[in-house]
Structures are given as C-alpha cells and as structure tokens.
C-alpha cells in the first residue's frame, strides 16, 4: 500500500519534470529559429540565459545600439578654434584643466617701411604671457607687452558648450574679463595723468561661437572696454563698445586661415578698426600662428580701441604667436 502510493508520487514527479524539459526545449527551438532569421551566424546557440531574457545575438545587438543610441549621448563639440587666441583677441577655446600654456607673441613694424627697414622686421614688439587652466571651463592668464609697457591679466569662463545628441546646444558662450595696466613713462608735455589707476583699462567680452562644420567656425564678440581715465583730462567717455567678428576656415588638416575684425560702435578719436588675417599651422601638439594686422599692441585696449595703422596705406604688421604647453597636473583617472 505504502509502496504503491510512493510509486504514484514518483510517476507524477517524473511526468512533471519531463514536461518541463519538453517545454524548455521547445522554447529553445523557437528562439533559435528567430535568431537564425535575424542573422546567419551558425556559431550561435540560442537559449534562455540566467536573467530569463532570451539572449540574442550580441552582434545584432551592437548594430542596433549603434543605429539608435546617437541620441542617448551628448557629444560636446571640440576644437572650434585651434587655440585660445584667434589672432589678437580671445577665441572661444580654453586650455584644458591643469595645462600651463606659455605664449610668446611678436608684432613687427609695418610693411610700408620698405626695404630699408626690411618691411618692418627691424622693429618688433612682443608680449610674453602664461595661461593656466584651473578647470576645463575656467582659465586665467597674465602677460606683459613691450608695447606701452603694459601688464595684463584676464580670466575666461566657458558658460555654454556647443553639443549635439542628448543635449543639443547650437552655440558656445564664454565670458572674458581682462585688465590692462599701461606703465610707460608719462609724456611730460601732456601733464594729464596723475595716478597709476588712471592708466588702467578693463575689457568685458562675451564670446559667442559656433563650429558650423569641421571646416568652418565663426564667433561674435560683443565687447566693452572701460577706461578709468580717457586722456586727456577725462574729456572723452569712459566706456567704448565694439562687436568683434572672427572666423576660421580649414584648408587642409594642418592649415587653417583665420580672420578677425573689430568694428567699433563708440570710437576714440584718431584710431581705426583693427583687422587681421592669419594662418594657423598645426604640428603634433603645437599651433603656430602667423598673421598680418594693422594693430601693434597685443591686448584688448591696444587692439580694439587704439589701432593706428591702416591697411590702405600698407600699415600692416607681420606677426606670429608661438605657444608651448606644459601639463602641470595630470588628469586623475588616466591610469598610467
């Protein structure tokens, strides 16, 4: 009696187990057919994985992912311009975090000085400066120009970054604030300046940039230059507005043409608008910039508001910027 009962239970159990196996196999077959339809990879054995989901073909999964997830990631546009200066003025670019950028810029005399002064190469003014990336969005820099013996300092903060994908941002925006201090000795005949603070100027610039394609970038730079004292004797206004326009056109992988123009809205008498053309040449890790400009100085005040020479008269200065970058602080998670 007891044995009989036991046998029945076992029979039922075995029956149940075999049913389960049959259904599992059927499921496998079904899955197999489906995956065979999707792809003809014969190596694949399809079945049920431990998570319970029918595990498909990883290759098909990847293809699907590549086609669909373009929108699930944000792609921040890089290299709108090649370096942190377009020609004379700032570009939208910052140096990366922890990078020290030593910049030496030269501006020679004017081409119309002729062969006697070898088209301006006899005379040169320069600016030496260092820039540092505090974060990927904030950079600071100081410099000293030989022209009017000017010291300058600035900070540039990246407010918006152009991107596509999940976050779609059509433009990049940065804010640059700079300060310039002219220390050249007073002209005794003018007798107008009394205190060093009178020789300070400030520039506030909003850089709005867009990389149109891999080949062309454009930026617009509304600028305010404030003079603590607009000599002589404060008879001129203190604030001067202008809107800078800059562009980069890529010619080859290593060569870019640049242009920069600063039309002034409020003008200081006797000065002209600054216009510059340049060539950016890239070598592995460095950018050399050659340029022609009617500006001599290399800071916002001297370039935007106090440019004296004109292109029409051949008052063109040849110049170049060279830079050497040093990685001071390596990114943490680089892993070497």
């Amino acid at each position: 009696m007891f044995n009989h009962k036991k046998n029945i239970i076992f029979t039922i159990l075995i029956f149940a187990i075999s049913l389960m196996q049959i259904s599992a196999k059927a499921q496998n077959k079904k899955g197999k057919k489906e995956s065979e339809k999707k792809s003809i990879i014969s190596k694949q054995i399809t079945s049920v994985d431990t998570t319970g989901k029918p595990s498909g073909d990883l290759f098909a999964e990847l293809d699907q992912q590549n086609a669909s997830n373009k929108k699930s990631e944000t792609d921040i546009t890089t290299a709108t311009f090649k370096t942190t200066r377009l020609i004379n003025g700032h570009s939208i670019e910052n140096v990366a975090k922890g990078v020290l950028d030593v910049k030496i810029s030269h501006r020679f005399g004017t081409l119309n000085e002729g062969a006697y002064a070898i088209w301006g190469l006899d005379a040169a003014t320069m600016r030496m400066g260092v820039d540092y990336g505090v974060t990927d969005r904030l950079m600071v820099g100081i410099g000293r120009s030989e022209y009017q013996k000017t010291y300058d300092g600035f900070f540039k903060y990246r407010i918006l970054r152009q991107s596509t994908g999940k976050v779609n941002m059509p433009i990049s925006v940065s804010y640059v604030a700079s300060m310039h201090w002219k220390t050249i000795h007073f002209d005794a005949t003018q007798n107008d300046i009394v205190h060093y603070t009178d020789r300070l100027t400030y520039a506030h610039q909003l850089i709005i940039a867009r990389k149109m394609s891999d080949y062309f970038s454009l930026q617009v730079v509304p600028t305010l230059v404030h003079y603590n004292n607009s000599a002589p004797l404060n008879k001129y206004p203190n604030d001067y507005y202008s809107i800078g326009i800059g562009a980069r056109q890529r010619i080859t992988k290593r060569l870019n043409l640049t242009a920069e123009y600063f039309p002034r809205i409020t003008k200081l008498d006797g000065y002209v608008n600054s216009f510059s053309l340049g060539v950016d040449i890239e070598t592995g890790g460095h950018v050399f910039q050659f340029n022609f400009s009617n500006s001599t100085g290399i800071n916002e005040r001297a370039v935007i508001n106090e440019t004296l020479d004109t292109w029409e008269d051949g008052g063109i200065h040849f110049g170049f910027n060279i830079a050497r970058v040093f990685t001071i602080k390596k990114a943490k998670k680089l892993g070497w």
Binding site: Q21, S47, D49, T50, S55, E61, W336
Partner: protein, 176 residues
C-alpha cells in the same frame, strides 16, 4: 530515494542550456603610438559583452572618450586622424575561439584567443589576439595586448615619423 536524486539531476539538466552574458560599461582600453613624443591615451568607458558558452564578444567605444595628457594632441587625434564627428565609434565583433577551456565556476587565469573584426575610422579589418580570462569569485576580467598597423585604418604623413607605425592596444575589462 534514487528516483528523487535522479529527478534532481533531470532538473539540473535544464540549466545546462542556460548561458550567461557578461557585460561592462566601464572597461578600459588604452593605446600607445609613441615615436618621438609620447602618444598615449586611455578610454575608461568601454562597452563590452560576451556570452560564456559561445564565446561571442563585442567591444564598443566612443573615440572622443580617449583621454590624452596633452589636450591639443587629443584635439588633433579627434579632428585630424580619427575624424570623430564622422566616425564617432570604434568596435570589435568576434569570438573567443577556445572559450570551452575556461571554467567560469573556478578561480584562475585561462589563456584564450580572440578573433574577429575590428572597425576603426570606418575601416573594418580582421584581427586576432591572444589574451587571458581571469575568474575571481565570479568576477571575470579579460586582458589582452595586441598591435595594429595604423596605416590600415588612418592616413596621415606623420605616421611613421612622429607617430609610430604600430599602436599597441591594451584591453582590461572587468565584467559582471
């Protein structure tokens, strides 16, 4: 009682069909193409998966996620060589040919071979590489080091002079 034991074995036989997909989204792939200067970069956001019983495996990464010590070099890498706006991703589709020799239930380091198709800069090439699978308490790590000829995938006059002709690629992915 014997039948009870037998039925347990039968139940277990169902799970023989089960397979496991191992995956990671934080794998690491780095490369070194240094010639006259250091050209090294690392990508810590590699998406990779493999299936234990078929050995099928995939790797996928964003070119822009390669980080260089020199930011300007990173720009040149993306802009001039990899053209990462045009070809944002690189991937590998292949098989671990001797996956059967790996016991995923037992701790140890197993030598394996992988072969498949590597796609970089829109160019697909067959590659084969030896590597190891390390099993440590259920955690599986795949490591490999192999070389690719850069001219197979990208062009540029600097390759061979300032940039090495071959890049050494190191893969180090820990799966769950």
């Amino acid at each position: 009682m014997k039948i009870f034991i037998a039925s347990i074995f039968m139940l277990a036989s169902i799970s023989v069909f089960a397979q496991k997909t191992y995956s990671t989204k934080t794998g690491q792939i780095s490369f070194d193409a240094s010639a006259t200067v250091d050209i090294k970069a690392v990508n810590n956001q590699v998406d990779s998966k493999f299936i234990d019983n078929t050995g099928q495996m995939i790797f996928s990464l964003l070119i822009k996620s390669f980080k260089f010590a020199n930011g300007l070099m990173e720009d040149h890498f993306n802009e001039d060589y990899m053209e990462s706006t045009k070809f944002p991703k690189a991937d590998f589709k292949g098989y671990i040919s001797n996956v059967a020799s790996v016991n995923f239930a037992k701790n140890g380091t197993y030598p394996v071979n992988a072969d498949g198709t590597l796609t970089i800069h829109g160019v697909a090439k067959k590659v084969a590489a030896p590597g190891t699978i390390t099993v440590n308490n259920g955690k599986v790590t795949i490591k490999t080091l192999f070389k690719i000829k850069l001219k197979d995938f990208i062009t540029g006059s600097y390759i061979g002079s300032q940039i090495a002709e071959e890049a050494a690629i190191t893969v180090n992915c820990e799966y769950q």
